[in-house]
Amino acid sequence: MTSTVVINKAAPTRTVKYGSMSRDRTWALRWSYFFLTLFAIFSLVPPLYMLITSLKTSAEISAATNPWWVFHPTLSNYVGLLTSNQFLTFFRNSAFVSIFVVTITMLISVPAAFALSRMRFWGSATLATGVFLTYLIPDTLLFLPLFKMFAVFDDWTGIQLINHWYVLLLLYPTLTVPFCTWIMIGYFASIPKELDEAAIIDGASWFQTLTRIFIPVALPGIIAATIFAFTVSWAQFLYPLVFTTSTDQLVLPVGIITSLIKGDVFNWGQIMTGALLGAAPPLIIYAFLMDYYIAGLTAGATKG
């Protein structure tokens, strides 16, 4: 009984490098910074080019000089746009549409998500998946049947919605509601079940549970959904291009294109200025809401 058992364990044969954890971490950080810098350059160059171009006159833009330098800076593009009634109308239409769409979206998707995540009813799981699937249908497919629907609606009722900015209030939610509902379902699902049970025992109705417990606790999720809804409605291009044509009904993205490109004449200076000015509101809203967008608001509700 002197057989020797050789157990070949792979782990001990490897040389152990002490402190390798922090070395790994250092390298991981270096690579992160490298790619983050690359990404930052990649995404910041276009807006920078827009800013440079917006400070030039049309003559300087078409001149064969260094496109990355402004030799005769001018604010004429900015003054021109901000004093033009047309541009201000586009801006106002965009603001109205976005604010209303965000409001409508939130009024629909927050209660919908609450119902789908908390009230177990027949088909609720299927419905939740269905909501998300509708988001996957691209708007490039939807705009033709939607246009036809509004045309038929006009024929039947005599109410003309096409070519009014408020038609967009019906169209954009088809994009924003499914996605926001989906985000909110995820946030509500992360709230422990005992929290609504405690509220119910404390005497809260479903509606009170939603308004007094769920909305405050899921605020980061609601802000994320708001940002999404605002971005989608501010930047949407296809629907306003198709459904609105009169100059006074246009929103910013379409308005800039249709009013500043005249035939084959591109007013590049003003186009860049308009695009930059148009990007300002979402930026401001992000900066403002990001302060509130902090995860972990449920900390302390339960053990952990």
Binding site: E194, L195, I201, G203, A204, L297, A301, K303
Partner: protein, 366 residues
């Protein structure tokens, strides 16, 4: 405050029957603990009393009124959850007063009640903090405070201490008992910890597989268990079970454990077990404290034998010993000075005056 009555309560989830017909009467002011292993239906029973689960069949009455279809908020109950379930965005005071504010109580009344509960639970200085700034024990106090301020008919506790560490658990256990002594609200408390059940309860309800195994005071369950399950579940270390059978030797009833070991039964026990069939497969149930070192002058009914110990566990005030008898591991409690050591021999004595005899097939205590 009110009494709670369950009549043939059944809960069925699709195919699974979680609670299989429970009858239970809980008197006003009583502290009743539902105890059992996980999946025994104790939490489901509590949630049915709370109204968080529908009942499939039967009746639940609170204060004499059938509440089967009454929503939780109208049952006038308060519940403390295992994971506290505090509202994270509210301060301690807001958490405690949430229910009262929903019912539009006057501000002064709310303040009085919150102050009173905070004082009772010793959390006065915490009322302006958010839950995330509190420790586990403090959160559990707030959860209890939220229940107390409501002045409900019934308190329901769903394993409130299982998230706390051992030391804090003992402390909060005493705290809960103190609160109950002060407010005297009818309480139903669910736990899987038999020590918690024994220490807190006026009466303990032992549940297993969706049924009630036995209801009784802690001492009653400890000394007179009705079934093998209760006998094994209540008490720590658990009761020992040794296969045995009865036989008559010279006209006296004996209990035979092994070929070598048989004891004459004391007269009171012999009278009780006289009718048991001699070939019946039986189990001898002995609490560890009734397996001790042999004394020079044993009392009647205490029988000595020799054993070789497997393992000893010195606990300070006593030493737990483990040895094997007929394939069954036996635990005993001996004096630390009795000379018990791992692998060593020891002369032990069993106190047959406190023995239990169980039918091995049915598990019933004879």
């Amino acid at each position: 405050m009110a009494d709670v009555t369950l009549r043939k309560v059944i809960k069925r989830y699709d195919e699974v029957e979680a609670v299989r017909g429970i009858d239970l009467d809980i008197a006003d002011h009583e502290f009743v603990v539902l105890v059992g292993p996980s999946g025994c239906g104790k939490s489901t029973t509590l949630r049915m009393i709370a109204g968080l689960e529908d009942i499939t069949d039967g009746d639940i009455m609170i204060g004499g009124d059938v509440v089967n279809d009454v929503p939780p908020k109208d049952r006038d109950i308060a519940m403390v959850f295992q994971n506290y379930a505090l509202y994270p965005h509210m301060t301690v005071a807001e958490n405690m007063s949430f229910g009262l504010r929903l019912k539009h109580f006057p501000k002064a009344e709310i303040k009085t009640r919150v102050d009173e509960a905070a004082r009772m639970l010793d959390i006065v200085e915490l009322v302006d903090r958010k839950p995330k700034q509190l420790s586990g024990g403090q959160r559990q106090r707030v959860a209890m405070g939220r229940a107390i301020v409501r002045h409900p008919k019934v308190f329901l506790f769903d394993e409130p201490l299982s998230n706390l560490d051992a030391k804090l658990r003992v402390q909060m256990r005493i705290e809960i008992k103190k609160v109950h002594q002060k407010v005297r609200t009818t309480t139903v408390y669910v736990t899987h910890d038999q020590v918690e059940a024994m220490t807190l309860a006026d009466r303990v309800v032992v549940m297993n597989h969706g049924r009630i195994e036995q209801i009784g005071t802690p001492n009653d369950l400890y000394h007179n268990p009705a079934t093998r399950f209760v006998a094994g579940f209540i008490g720590s270390p658990a009761m020992n079970f040794v296969p045995c059978r009865l036989e008559d030797v010279a006209g006296k009833l004996h209990i035979r454990l092994t070929d070598r070991i048989a004891f004459a039964l004391p007269p009171s026990r012999a009278a009780r077990y006289r009718g048991v069939a001699r070939n019946e497969k039986l189990l001898l149930g002995l609490r560890p404290e009734h397996v001790a070192e042999a004394k020079p002058h044993p009392e009647p009914g205490v029988e000595a034998f020799d054993a070789v110990l497997d393992v000893t566990e010195p606990m300070g005030m006593e030493t737990l010993i483990y040895f094997t008898l007929e394939g069954a591991q036996i635990c005993g409690r001996v004096n630390p000075n009795a000379g018990a050591r791992d692998g060593g021999p020891l002369r032990l004595a069993v106190d047959l005056n406190n023995m239990h005899l169980l039918n091995e097939g049915t598990g019933a205590v004879i």
